[in-house]
């Protein structure tokens, strides 16, 4: 037997004494956990909780396992949203290899999102997230070969979703993709999404009025629209060149992408041909700022939301103190006086329903909602109290998954 682990391996050290010599199907270890509502898989997949994290174990042919291990590492290096691969266990006598990935904390599968009434029609937001992920992969030269709802986990992102790739078994990395490769990938996605929704429909968890074929076709339309926006060439008239370029860049930024290079090629009397090369950068300008200022790890929309709250709080501080307050001071004070008190006050039994940042985002939403209703600003602490009492308990327990055992009820 042979373990290959990505350093730092400490987190994985606790996994070493799992019963690797037995078929995964037959494992009987107290650390095994069930993940409800997970996506479909061709292989045996089981989950292990160890040291506060959950790991996904997938049994598959050694050659494929090593390949997937390399690809997942590469995806992370490129800053593309994918699960973190921990290692691969090969040379198990007479058995296939096992690929070990870290289960994405506080993530949800499409099955749990559709099954939970809280998101009555998650379709739109799911597709947006999925299409954005696929476009990012394609820009980076990744052909997925198996884009589907099952092969993605979703994290909540201030009411929207962020999609993470969890299965790279069939993926291939190229310097860039041909039209044929992209087209093939998209038509596979169309087929898989339709199949998955037909399946939900047969299981009775697809909201009525959602037509699998329409949704699948819509995915293709969204993909084409986004790809086109990010990569299309256009002819610009000399008079409005500056304005049009700025507008195009703003649009690309607002879609969450960065522009790497802008190229203008003279196209004779009609003007210039604008070529835009969109960069595959880690999504998350705001994410990085929030991380630097507060140490909080958040999704992009969440980060934008929190930064707005920090900005508002800074204005408040400046009024109270009667003078300018540096950004770093404002951020730290906000963390200690606004954010942390809310998170610390979450009743123990409800702690794992949502990730902390999403929960804080919901408290802000709730504050806005209560303030609207009462015609005055109710303040964050009052909003939090009301939210813990009336909203959080309604978030289904199995909406997102973490590696922690459920808290005892308080």
């Amino acid at each position: 037997m042979h373990f290959v682990f990505t350093p730092p391996g400490e987190s994985a050290a606790g996994l070493l004494d799992l019963p690797w010599t037995e078929p995964l199907e037959e494992w009987d270890d107290e650390r095994l956990v069930e993940i409800r509502q997970r996506g479909l898989s061709r292989h045996t997949v089981r989950f292990v909780a160890e040291g506060g994290a959950v790991y996904a174990m997938k049994e598959l042919d050694a050659r494929l396992a090593r390949r997937e291990y390399r690809l997942l590492r590469r995806l992370r290096e490129l800053g593309l949203p994918a699960v973190e691969v921990i290692g691969v266990v090969v040379d198990r006598a007479g058995l296939d290899a096992i690929l070990v990935t870290r289960f994405l904390d506080h993530s949800s599968s499409y099955r749990s999102l559709f099954a939970n009434a809280r998101y009555s029609h998650p379709t739109d937001r799911l597709l947006d997230a999925l299409v954005e992920l696929l476009v990012r992969l394609h820009l980076a030269g990744f052909m997925w070969g198996d884009c589907s709802l099952s092969n993605v986990l979703f994290r909540m992102d201030a009411g929207a979703f962020a999609a993470y790739l969890v299965d790279a078994e069939t993926a291939e990395l190229h310097p860039s993709l041909s039209e044929g490769q992209r087209g093939y990938d998209v038509s596979l996605a169309r087929e898989r999404i339709a199949g998955e929704l037909f399946d939900l429909s047969a299981a009775g968890t697809l909201p009525s009025g959602v037509d699998p074929i329409d949704v699948a076709d819509d995915t293709v339309r969204r993909y084409r629209a986004l790809w086109d926006e990010l990569t299309r060439e256009e002819i610009l008239h000399p008079d409005d060149q500056r304005y049009r370029i700025a507008e195009r860049l703003r649009r690309i930024n607002s879609l969450g992408f960065d522009v790497d290079e802008v190229e203008l090629v003279d196209a004779g009397s009609s003007g210039a041909r604008l070529r835009v090369r969109t960069r595959v950068a880690e999504p998350g300008h705001h994410r990085r700022i929030l991380m630097a200022r507060t140490g909080l790890d958040a999704q992009e929309n969440q980060a934008r939301r929190l930064l707005n709250d920090i900005a508002g709080y800074r204005g408040h501080l400046e009024r109270v103190r009667g003078g300018p307050v540096p950004e770093v001071v404002a951020s730290n004070t906000w963390l200690a006086e606004v954010y942390e008190p809310v998170i610390d006050a979450v009743p123990p039994g409800l702690r794992d329903r949502l990730d902390d940042v999403e929960l804080f985002h919901e408290v802000l939403e709730h504050r806005w909602f209560l303030s609207e209703k009462s015609g005055r600003d109710v303040g964050t602490s009052a909003a939090a109290r009301d939210y813990f009492a009336s909203v959080l308990p309604t978030v289904p327990e199995d909406l997102t998954q973490t590696g922690r055992r459920p808290d005892p009820p308080s």
Binding site: D61, S178, G180, Q181, D199, A216
Partner: protein, 424 residues
């Protein structure tokens, strides 16, 4: 259905590396063609150019009577089988097969007709109302195949389809794919690095090396009449043994001993070369004590020191190390590496009758069937003794047996189902 014709196909990447170099290959209508070779030989790239995933740098790809160089993958009407198939747990087998048709908004009537035909072909009729969880592994794979068949594609393409299955299922599926392909008569291109798959499945096998097509022929032709060292070494397991030999008139002096080439055609082929490589398949050796007098006269006898033996029940493998001049030994090591073989030493592997009492560490008398040996030019690797007449004969045999097999598979009872699924 359609023939697939590749004319001088080249795939060159940005860095100038030719992944596929001037390949011309004709896959006949209904033929089962295997693309085989070690990793990096260009077999998958070639398949991807057929599918439309890779742009073609030069040459022409024709499917049916249409040049498809610029045609999008989904418009080529091909079916990649097993690639990322998924069975849906809440859908019945029927719906799992039907769903590509639903997606294409095919009428209910037509769906029913096609799914029923497909199920019959795959012997899934009585399982149509069941859920995938209640099926065996093999049945599930058949449902996945059903999804490919029901589309009525012009050709099936397989890219190492069995590599992610366990050994037992792999064997089952190999038989299943072969049976089904012959029954449907759909043009099929199948990529594999596994020479056992290549030999057992294909009507013809195309062997590639570093982007260049080496040889196309029936499995038997490749085995018996390889064009060069590479094909001779790649096809067959254990591999053909290559012994360096110096030529002395009609005699060959090999590390295992001296023997006579009693074949005018072969002697002539060697010409005035002083050094050659002699290729002998393991099974063309035998323990002398087990060879009858009449047969003995057809070959030659050598004495050799046996290093290790492996008794397998049905036969016995003996390993016979030998010395080779350094330059030839290095060349053989390179070849062995290229063939993905782990054999690092110069040793002959001989497969003897299981009744042999040869033991390791002793000298043994081995009979060689010299009528079966091939002689290769050490500089070019070309097979000097390939028998063109025999090649032609093998080609005709393969053609006849293909026709006969198809006739049998598509017996009159099948006309209703098999033929119409394939032909519409």
């Amino acid at each position: 259905m359609a023939a697939i014709t590749m004319k001088n196909i080249v795939k060159q990447y940005g860095d100038g590396f030719p992944a596929v170099n001037d390949v011309s290959l004709d896959v006949q209508d209904g033929e089962f063609m295997i693309l085989v070779g070690p990793s990096g030989c260009g077999k998958s790239t070639l398949l991807r150019m057929i599918v439309g995933l890779e742009d073609i740098t030069a040459g022409e790809m024709v499917i049916g009577d249409r040049v498809v160089n610029k045609v999008a993958p989904r418009e080529r009407n091909l079916s990649m089988v097993f690639q990322n198939y998924a069975l849906y747990p809440h859908l019945t087998v029927y719906e799992n097969i039907a769903f590509p048709l639903r997606l294409a908004k095919t009428s209910n009537e037509e769906v029913q007709r096609r799914v029923n035909q497909t199920a019959e072909l795959l012997e899934l009729t009585e399982h149509l109302e069941r859920k995938p969880a209640n099926l065996s592994g093999g049945q599930r794979q058949r449902v996945a195949m059903g999804r490919a068949i029901v589309r009525q594609a012009d050709a099936f393409l397989f890219d190492e389809p069995l590599s992610n299955l366990d050994a037992k299922l792999r064997g089952q599926m190999r038989t299943e794919i072969s049976r089904l392909q012959r029954r449907l008569g759909v043009t099929t291109v199948y990529v594999t690095h596994d020479q056992t798959e290549a030999m057992t499945l294909g009507d013809r096998v195309a062997v590639l090396r570093r982007g260049v097509l080496q040889q196309v022929g029936s499995p038997r032709e490749l085995y018996e009449e390889p064009v060069n060292l590479f094909v001779a070494g790649f096809i067959g397991s254990p591999s053909m043994n290559f012994l360096p030999a110096s030529v002395d008139g009609s005699f060959l002096e090999t590390p295992l001993g001296r023997f006579e080439l009693r074949d005018e055609r072969k002697i002539e082929a060697v010409g005035d070369r002083s050094v050659v490589l002699v290729g002998i398949r393991p099974e063309h050796f035998e323990d002398v004590s087990l060879v009858g007098e009449e047969k003995k006269a057809r070959g030659s006898i050598v004495r050799a020191q046996v290093d290790v033996t492996e008794w397998l029940g049905n036969e016995l493998y003996a390993y016979v190390p030998y010395e080779a001049p350094e330059d030839l030994a290095a060349q053989l090591r390179d070849l062995s590496r290229e063939l993905d073989s782990d054999q690092l030493r110069t040793q002959a592997v001989v497969a003897l009758d299981a009744a042999s009492l040869i033991s390791p560490g002793r000298e043994a008398e081995l009979w060689i069937d010299t009528t079966k040996v091939h002689i290769f030019d050490p500089a070019t690797g070309d097979n000097l003794t390939r028998d063109e007449e025999r090649v032609e004969q093998l080609g005709r045999m393969a053609e006849d047996s293909r026709a006969a097999q198809r006739e049998a598979q598509r017996g009159p009872a099948d006309d209703e189902t098999g033929a119409s699924v394939a032909e519409s």
